[in-house]
Symmetry: none
Subunit: 245 residues, 2 copies
């Protein structure tokens, strides 16, 4: 099925970035989450060795980055632009959390282009920039210090985009084989016998010992192999190979 990967329809737009290191780190953050389209609106220093260094193995994202003169240019062809901000605005677009915005962006990106827009490190997005977007997204943060580093904010949004894109896909995974009922019962019987034998469990006053032990192992959801180990230990206690001191 040749459906478009929504992540391939989403661009990250950085406006007026001061530090090339942040551009590189943002590229790395993007690539780890499967995003590749980076747009730079009037960056102060780019290209720059510092950007390449911080990009690590995401220099390909930097190499293909589009440098634009204006936000309008970077948003050309985009249907949903999300302003990513650290603080709420008085009169801006509708607001959402990063998670909610990522869901919206991915949904939109199934068929059309979407963009996440980030402001300058010091001032954030200008009101004019926010007003060019259809949605304002906020990362829930410590109200006493909500200033995420630019690349860290890109990382959180990129992560939420990937999570949103993956949500529909069920995780198959090959589950290990669990022990079955009879095996478990044999183990419990064996363990109880041992506990009585060593004087730890008094059959006339068993208290809640066995129920507690059962509860513990039930929580672990023993795998067949694990049960074999435990039963092996019980057997070896009954018939030690090296002789006990």
């Amino acid at each position: 099925m040749a459906r478009t990967d929504p992540l391939d329809n989403i661009r990250i737009v950085l406006c007026g970035t001061n530090h090339p290191g942040n551009i590189g780190a943002a590229a790395r953050a993007m690539k780890t989450m499967g995003l590749t389209h980076l747009y730079l609106v009037a960056p102060v220093r780019f290209p720059d060795p510092e950007a390449n260094w911080r990009a690590s193995r995401a220099t390909d994202v930097l190499a293909r980055a589009r440098v634009c003169a204006s936000l309008d240019e970077a948003l050309a062809g985009v249907s949903l632009a999300v302003a990513c901000s650290a603080r709420p605005r008085e009169l801006a677009a509708p607001q959402a959390t990063a998670r909610g915005a990522a869901l919206r962006a991915v949904e939109s990106a199934r068929t059309q282009r979407a963009a996440l827009v980030f402001g300058n490190e010091t001032y954030g997005l200008t009101t004019a920039e926010v007003n060019k977007c259809q949605l304002l997204a906020l990362i829930p943060a410590n109200p006493r210090y909500s200033s995420l580093n630019l690349a860290a904010a890109v990382q959180v949004f990129a992560y939420e985009l990937r999570m949103a894109a993956a949500e529909a896909v069920a995780a198959p995974g090959k589950a290990p084989v669990k022990a079955d009922f009879e095996e478990l019962e044999r183990f419990y019987a064996h363990l109880e016998e041992l506990m009585v034998e060593i004087g730890f469990l008094n059959p006339r006053h068993p208290k809640k010992l066995m129920p507690r032990v059962r509860r513990l192992f039930a929580r672990a959801q023993l795998e067949k192999e694990e049960l074999n180990i435990l039963r092996g230990i019980l057997k070896a206690i009954a018939h030690p190979r090296t002789g006990r001191k």
Copy 2:
């Protein structure tokens, strides 16, 4: 109501960090999400001006960071340690996503201490380090490039912790007290000793026995009382009250 803020019961542990800049950036990531307890296990360079610079206004987190000689020291008093890794392990603790692990950690941190443990930038966590944790957490990432910057990974986890803490405003319920790190380590040591003594574990060819056993009990998240039962059994095996036949 003087309920503990779960975020105040969670520490971030960075093992063998190479670059002080990453330590500073991690401190900033933490503070933006309301986390303040930073533990540094054998950092290569700390304190360092680069760390302060990258911490921005989170230098208070750096100033209060605890430098430890070993992971054991950093995990003292911790009931749930989460290994944060970029790659799955063959035989490690139970695995979860960053989101699932954050929910678990916050739940646990309502009453006890939890820790998120991050490895060195180049090598990640060692197997020995992962095996000291009860849960392995992975950030879903691009399989072709899953290498998040260390501070970026801390940011994602810190963000998920904050989201989880905000989500779980519901009634806490009284969770049973979990066994802590030192108690668990004593139990494993005791069990291993017994397994050697009865000839079940050959110290020269230990195979994967102890890691498997650890994984099993890690999954069960032993309560203090349960651990007492298990240790009681081990003691009674060593000194049976009724004499063995």
